[in-house]
């Protein structure tokens, strides 16, 4: 029975919670508890969704958005993790770079988006860079925190066995920080969706954000929610994929995940 529950719960509970939320929403809508003008019921949203799917409206916009997300995510995440780990390892690098990170991170990309356009041009690059910045700082700060959490003895072992700086980095610092790096990646993935839609919302012809903007302009509230649902579904998919990768990459952390429930 215990074993059964172990197998069934991971599939059942997420389904229950997601459909539960949708059903509750539908119910509230049907009972007239929420204003359908602003909160249309899920069934109508799905209807609109399939309509837009048939039009091909979703496909084009989604592919454009996903392209921006992936490129921006990679451009931001890879240097973010690398520099974050370096800052974690070397105190001098950290002392030197941390103030710059602390100062540039909170600058709102939206408010300086016109400047990004001056620097990176109006095409894709400025949008991609806005995403990249969002991911960069998050993964950097989490990777830096990851290094700080590494048990000192691992550094001592590495040093004792003559690890070069590169070896220390690839064989100890990077794998040991993976748990926090993955957390950073999860936050960054969500952030890249938030940023891309934000950027497309204010200045783009195509993409999910532009779709949402158009929905606001025409006040087609179902279309707006279709855009939101797409973000949500992407969020769930990204998280699932990440979990799978995590499960393979850091098994030694996974086993600590169910304290006292075995």
């Amino acid at each position: 029975m215990m074993l059964n529950a172990d197998r069934v719960y991971p599939v059942l509970l997420p389904l229950v919670s997601l459909t539960g939320v949708l059903l509750l929403w539908e119910l509230c809508g049907r009972l007239g508890l929420i204003n359908p003008l602003f909160f249309p019921v899920p069934s109508l949203i799905f209807l609109a969704f399939f309509g837009m799917l048939a039009d091909g409206e979703i496909q084009t916009n989604l592919s454009i958005t996903l392209f921006r997300v992936f490129v921006g995510f990679l451009i931001g995440t890879i240097p973010g993790i690398t520099i974050g780990l370096l800052m974690g390892v070397s105190e001098k690098t950290r002392l030197f770079l941390d103030p710059i990170v602390a100062a540039t991170y909170p600058i709102p990309k939206l408010a300086i988006f016109p400047l990004l356009m001056v620097i990176f041009g109006i095409g894709e690059l400025s949008k991609i860079m806005a995403i990249a910045f969002g991911c960069f700082f998050i993964t950097l700060i989490n990777a830096m925190g990851g290094v700080r959490n590494i048990n000192k003895v691992y550094f001592e072992v590495a040093k004792n066995y003559g690890a070069s700086k590169t070896q220390l980095f690839t064989r100890v610092v990077l794998p040991a920080s993976l748990p926090m790096i993955f957390t950073g990646i999860r936050i960054a993935l969500g952030m890249s969706l938030i940023v891309v839609v934000g950027v497309e919302f204010v200045s783009a012809n195509h993409g999910i954000g532009a779709m949402i903007w158009n929905a606001w302009q025409t006040f087609e509230i179902e279309k707006l929610y279709v855009g939101i649902f797409i973000c949500a579904i992407l969020g769930i998919l990204f998280t699932l994929v990440l979990k799978k990768i995590e499960h393979r990459t850091i098994p030694w952390v996974g086993q600590l995940a169910h304290p006292g429930e075995e």
Binding site: L37, F38, V118, W216
Partner: protein, 313 residues
């Protein structure tokens, strides 16, 4: 008897286009009517839901497809007065601009020259359609770049776009820093295009009397606004737009009909165009769009109390 103070929330963008409202606040015209106006800066997209929801009583801005759709769904939102108009022969508050270097070199000197060029715009399909029509061009003849207004000047500067639809104060800025010139002022392709004042259910349904009093104060503001760039008006607009004196003096203040009435032909044309292009499924008639009873009332009151006003001041 002085009525108790009531609050009306108005959504706005802090531009010169809302001059009459600023004036009516600072001169106490609203207070005279027992109204406390709260200005709420909102995204244009947010204004409509807030209006419908009754969070705000009145709103301003150009007529867009969203308004048509909302009214078509049966929501009680109405155009109640004029609040600025692209009057032929007046100054330019909205224009199709072109990069100065292109213009100076004679590469683009009229609309027809824009063929194949990049034009910045944001949700101005109809405006662009009308502008391009001047050069016998259609949307497909140009490359359209979506962009918010603040980004247009940087885009002109680094040559990312060739032309664009621009409003004040960016027109003045672009001229001042030499990045662009006006190719066609909007009054040439959208003659008499109105930017109206809307009421939502908070005034229309819940408290029409408050709406009427609001209109009285507003029209008094319009009257003073139409006196032009007087010292007093410059000070008041400066308070709300944060623009400096010089820029305010240079920039265009939309003309507004003193009696608050507005021409209906341009919006009819817009609705027909949208219907023809299948952007809306239902043509609204004037009764669904306008409720001019408020300006009618206010005009009556104002004619009766002209003397009274002189007494109080």
């Amino acid at each position: 008897p002085a009525p108790a103070m009531k609050t009306v929330t108005v959504s706005y963008q802090p531009t010169t286009a809302n001059g009459p409202i600023y004036i009516a606040i600072d001169e106490g015209y609203f207070a005279e009517q027992g109204i406390d106006v709260r200005l709420e800066k909102t995204l244009t997209a947010a204004a409509l839901p807030l209006l419908i929801n009754g969070d705000i009583g009145a709103s301003t801005g150009p007529v867009k497809i969203g308004l048509i759709n909302v009214i078509a769904k049966g929501e009680h939102v109405r155009i109640v007065a004029d609040k600025g108009r692209l009057t032929p022969g007046s100054c330019t508050a909205y224009a199709l601009m072109v990069r100065k270097d292109l213009f100076d070199k004679g590469v683009v000197t009229n609309v027809a020259d824009l063929k194949g060029r990049k034009i910045a715009q944001r949700d101005s399909d109809y405006d662009l359609y009308r502008a391009l029509a001047l050069g016998n061009l259609s949307r497909d003849d140009v490359e359209i770049v979506d962009m918010d207004f603040a980004s247009v000047i940087p885009a002109f500067k680094n040559g990312a776009v060739d032309a664009g639809l621009v409003t004040e104060p960016y027109i003045t800025q672009a001229i001042n820093n030499g990045s662009a010139v006006v190719l066609v002022p909007a009054q040439d392709f959208l003659p008499d295009w109105p930017i109206p004042l809307y009421y939502g259910p908070a005034l229309l349904d819940k408290d029409p009397d408050l709406g009427r009093r609001f209109m009285v104060a507003y029209l008094k503001g319009v009257k003073q606004y139409n006196e032009g760039k007087t010292e007093r008006n410059l000070v008041i607009l400066g308070n709300y737009t944060h623009l400096d004196r010089e820029l305010l003096n240079q920039s265009c203040w939309y003309p507004i009909a003193a009696d608050g009435n507005l021409p209906r032909e341009p919006i009819r044309g817009y609705i027909n165009w949208m219907y023809a292009n299948k952007k809306i499924t239902q043509k609204l008639n004037d009764d669904q769009l306008y409720d001019m009873s408020y300006v009618t009332y206010a005009n009556g009151v104002l004619h009766n109390t002209t003397d009274g006003r002189q007494q109080t001041t």
